[in-house]
């Protein structure tokens, strides 16, 4: 049965999807700005963070209003709870993109330390993880959500490898320290973006199945029942 306040939930859902799409665009643009040394694009990424922040506030307000006035239960309650948590994760993704963009601006002023191969590869995986986590929101595919969680180790491995490589640059040539540290922090930001994608995927499992798989490795192997 349709209810007169159904449009509030539809708006809530579409705001969350918009926030997810905006966050993915920000990750892509921030890394592109780094790789291409595009300061103008980096500035646009920094400015666009406000869009994400506003969406987080709007989603929180919508969730609090819905819980307060519509007394949701079951799937609706899980949607509202998960929406608030996922929007917080997406807001943090946006913050990491701002960090990457600011460092990209600084790195653009200097010659590249090395060809950017691993960072775009990491970012590509993180973007796929975010995309898959958001797909789970649309279609409730918990197997895909669990695959996102399992993929986190790929990003962690590249991050560690990059740390080792950049450390050796600094040891061999201390003049590279500033640039190497910037790249380490960028790598860490992308690793955190992947962590947020995992959080969102775990939240989507809760949305679909009411099962909390956080910190429970045995459940992350799946399948979710």
């Amino acid at each position: 049965m349709k209810r007169f306040f159904d449009t509030e939930l539809e708006t809530f859902r579409s705001d969350l999807i918009l926030m997810g799409e905006t966050s993915i665009r920000q990750v892509r643009d921030a890394v592109k700005a780094l790789v291409e040394g595009d300061v103008s694009l980096a500035d646009r990424v920094i400015a666009a963070d406000d869009e994400i922040d506003l969406l987080e506030v709007k989603i929180d307000e919508g969730a609090m209003r819905y819980m307060n006035l519509r007394a949701p239960v079951a799937t609706e309650l899980r949607l509202v709870i998960v929406g608030m948590k996922a929007s917080h994760d997406l807001e943090r993704v946006g913050d990491e993109c701002t960090t990457i963009a600011k460092r990209a601006v600084r790195l653009a002023a200097e010659p590249p330390l090395k060809p950017y191969i691993d960072i775009p590869r990491m970012a590509g995986i993180a973007i796929e993880m975010l995309r898959d986590a958001l797909d789970c929101f649309l279609n409730g595919d918990t197997e895909k959500a669990l695959a996102v969680v399992r993929r986190d180790s790929e990003v962690d491995a590249i991050n560690k490898q990059l740390y080792r490589e950049l450390s050796s640059y600094m040891i061999e040539n201390p003049a590279t320290t500033t640039r190497a540290l910037e790249l380490m922090f960028i790598s860490k930001s992308i690793e955190r973006i992947a962590d947020h994608a995992c959080n969102i995927a775990e939240e989507m499992v809760f949305l679909a199945k009411a099962q909390d798989i956080r910190h429970r490795e045995e459940l992350k192997k799946g399948p979710v029942v």
Partner: protein, 276 residues
């Protein structure tokens, strides 16, 4: 759906008596394959339900779904209606078939008390309302009756409000106080089970909150079955919830499951207010 229990390090400490405190409960009332008719019309279809001792169970469902009918079967109130019949199944309390030939319905109703939608104090004093059940059982010792009056009124969270006017009419109390007086009258005869048929539907939010607090306290001593149309009341007060539709039991589970992740789409639609 059974959600695997979280490991101990992530479990949340809940207050004793909270519906979410895990623990095993014994079955007090066992309803098996129960069919019930009003004349030619079948009101209950093959009900199978085990109700836990010292727990609150909520019966929910749209009007006419059979929840009040089943409630009234638990103390044989339906015996008083012409044309009712049970064609199959049985109900046992502590393994005794309550429709057995040697069971006295009056005795049964002492063990299974009832509180109705509309408070119905007798047109007598508060004191006499409480002692009525005991007097007809032949208890006349004043000290004993005084003791029961105080204990019952305290049990119903009404003592402080009425202790100075015990001999005034029960009809002079507010609606919420009258309902608690009826609960006190019910617990005065020390039943095992209290049936509540929409006990708060005529009460304001403050009186409702007092009755709900009372339910939470009373379940330490009594098994409570409550019929309610308020989903929030079922969620707040009950440990288990049974959802009925068109005379059938659709789903029965822990209340937290019914309101967080019901297994049946009809249950979800009903508790979400999207039925029909």
């Amino acid at each position: 759906m059974e959600t695997p229990a979280a490991p101990a390090k992530f479990s949340v400490n809940l207050p004793a008596g909270s519906p979410d405190v895990p623990g095993t409960a014994n079955t007090l009332i066992d309803i098996r394959n129960f069919d019930f008719f009003y004349g030619a019309k079948q009101a209950l279809f093959d009900i199978n339900l085990k109700l836990d001792d010292k727990r609150v169970t909520a019966f929910i469902g749209p009007s006419g779904c059979g929840k009040s009918t089943l409630l009234r079967c638990l103390n044989r109130m339906n015996d008083l209606i012409d044309g009712t019949r049970i064609t199959r199944g049985d109900i046992s309390i502590r393994d005794v078939d309550i429709y057995g030939r040697d069971v006295d319905a009056i005795e049964l109703r002492k063990r299974v008390g009832m509180v109705f939608q509309k408070s119905n104090p007798f047109p007598k004093s508060i004191y006499e309302n409480i002692t009525y059940g005991l007097r007809i059982q032949g208890v006349n010792n004043k000290a004993r009756l005084d003791e029961v009056v105080e204990k019952s009124l305290r049990g119903a969270a009404l003592w402080d409000e009425v202790k100075d006017r015990l001999h005034e009419s029960g009809l002079g109390l507010s609606g919420g106080q009258q309902q608690r007086l009826c609960i006190a009258r019910t617990i005065a005869v020390e039943p095992e089970v209290i049936l509540m048929d929409e006990p708060c539907s005529a009460l304001d939010p403050i009186a409702t909150a007092k009755v709900e607090e009372l339910i939470h306290e009373l379940k330490k001593q009594f098994t409570i079955i409550i019929v309610t149309h308020s989903m929030q009341q079922a969620a707040r007060c009950s440990d288990k919830t049974a959802f009925f539709y068109m005379g059938k039991l659709i789903e029965y589970d822990d209340t937290r499951t019914i309101f967080m992740n019901p297994g049946n789409p009809q249950t979800e639609a009903y508790v979400s207010g999207r039925f029909g």
